[in-house]
C-alpha cells in the first residue's frame, strides 16, 4: 500500500510536538503508536519536586501525577498522531483535559519506570476519549481509567 510521505509520522516527531517540558513532561519515550492506541513510558526521578511534599519523609507519586502521566502519553501523544495531517511544521497543539475517572491499585515510588497503554474509544469533533492503563516494570497494573480531552492544531 502506498503511504503518503507527508502524513507519516515518527515517534520522535510526536514528542517534538508536545507542548510541555520538565518538570511537567511525564513522557520519556513512545514504544508503539497506531490509529487505535499508544504505548509509552516514563521514569519518575527521585528528585522530582512533588516528592518533597507527598508525603513528608515518605515519597510516593501523587495520583494526580499518575493521571497526568496517563493523559500525556495516552491522550496527548495519541492525539498528535491522529492529527498528523493537520500539524504545522513546528506547531504545538491546543489541548484541554475534559474529564477523567481513574482507579488506583498500587503505589508508585521514586525511580520507578512506568508504562502507559492507551486504547482509543473515539476521536470525534476533536474530542479524544481513551481507556488508559499504567503498569510498573513487573507489569503490575498500578492504575487505570478513562481520560478525555479536546485537541487541535
Amino acid at each position: 500500500m502506498a503511504e503518503n510521505i507527508l502524513v507519516r509520522m515518527t515517534i520522535k516527531e510526536i514528542i517534538t510536538h508536545l507542548p510541555y517540558q520538565e518538570p511537567f513532561l511525564f513522557v520519556d519515550e513512545l514504544h508503539e503508536v497506531s490509529e487505535k492506541g499508544v504505548k509509552g513510558s516514563y521514569t519518575f526521578k527521585e528528585d522530582a519536586y512533588f516528592y518533597k511534599g507527598h508525603f513528608k519523609h515518605n515519597p510516593i507519586t501523587p495520583g494526580v501525577i499518575l493521571t497526568e502521566t496517563m493523559a500525556k502519553i495516552g491522550v496527548v501523544c495519541l492525539g498528535i498522531y491522529l492529527l498528523k495531517e493537520h500539524i504545522e511544521a513546528s506547531g504545538f497543539p491546543k489541548i484541554a483535559l475534559t474529564s477523567n475517572t481513574v482507579d488506583f491499585y498500587l503505589p508508585v515510588y521514586p525511580n520507578e519506570r512506568v508504562t502507559v497503554v492507551s486504547e482509543k474509544e473515539y476521536f470525534r469533533f476533536n474530542k479524544l476519549k481513551c481507556k488508559v492503563q499504567l503498569y510498573n516494570e513487573k507489569e503490575e497494573l498500578m492504575c487505570r481509567g478513562t481520560i478525555a480531552g479536546v485537541i487541535m492544531f
Binding site: A96, T98, S99, Y122, R124, F125, K127, G149, V150
Partner: protein, 84 residues
C-alpha cells in the same frame, strides 16, 4: 417519530450532561444546550455520539456545529431519519 417523541428521547440523552436542573425540567424547543442547560462543549460531543447511537444516524461536522439547541437537534435528527 413526532417532535414530542424526539424531545423525550433527546431529554433522556442530555440528562447526564446538564448542569442546570431548572432549565432541564422546563426544556422546550427553544432550549439552548450550552447557554441554558450549561452542557460543556466536550460533553456536547457525547450528546452527539449518543444521538448517533440512539437513532442509528451519522452526524457530520457541519451538523455538529449547528446542533446547539433542541430545535436544531430535532431538525437535524428528523432530516437524517427521513433520508434513511
Amino acid at each position: 417519530m413526532t417532535n414530542i417523541d424526539l424531545i423525550a428521547s433527546l431529554k433522556k440523552i442530555v440528562k447526564p450532561y446538564i448542569q442546570n436542573e431548572v432549565a432541564f425540567e422546563n426544556l422546550t424547543e427553544e432550549t439552548d444546550f450550552i447557554n441554558d442547560l450549561k452542557i460543556n462543549s466536550a460533553n456536547l460531543v457525547d450528546v452527539v455520539l449518543d444521538v448517533e447511537d440512539e437513532f442509528d444516524i451519522e452526524i457530520d461536522n457541519e451538523s455538529m456545529e449547528k446542533m446547539l439547541n433542541v430545535k436544531a437537534a430535532i431538525e437535524i435528527i428528523s432530516t437524517k431519519l427521513n433520508s434513511k
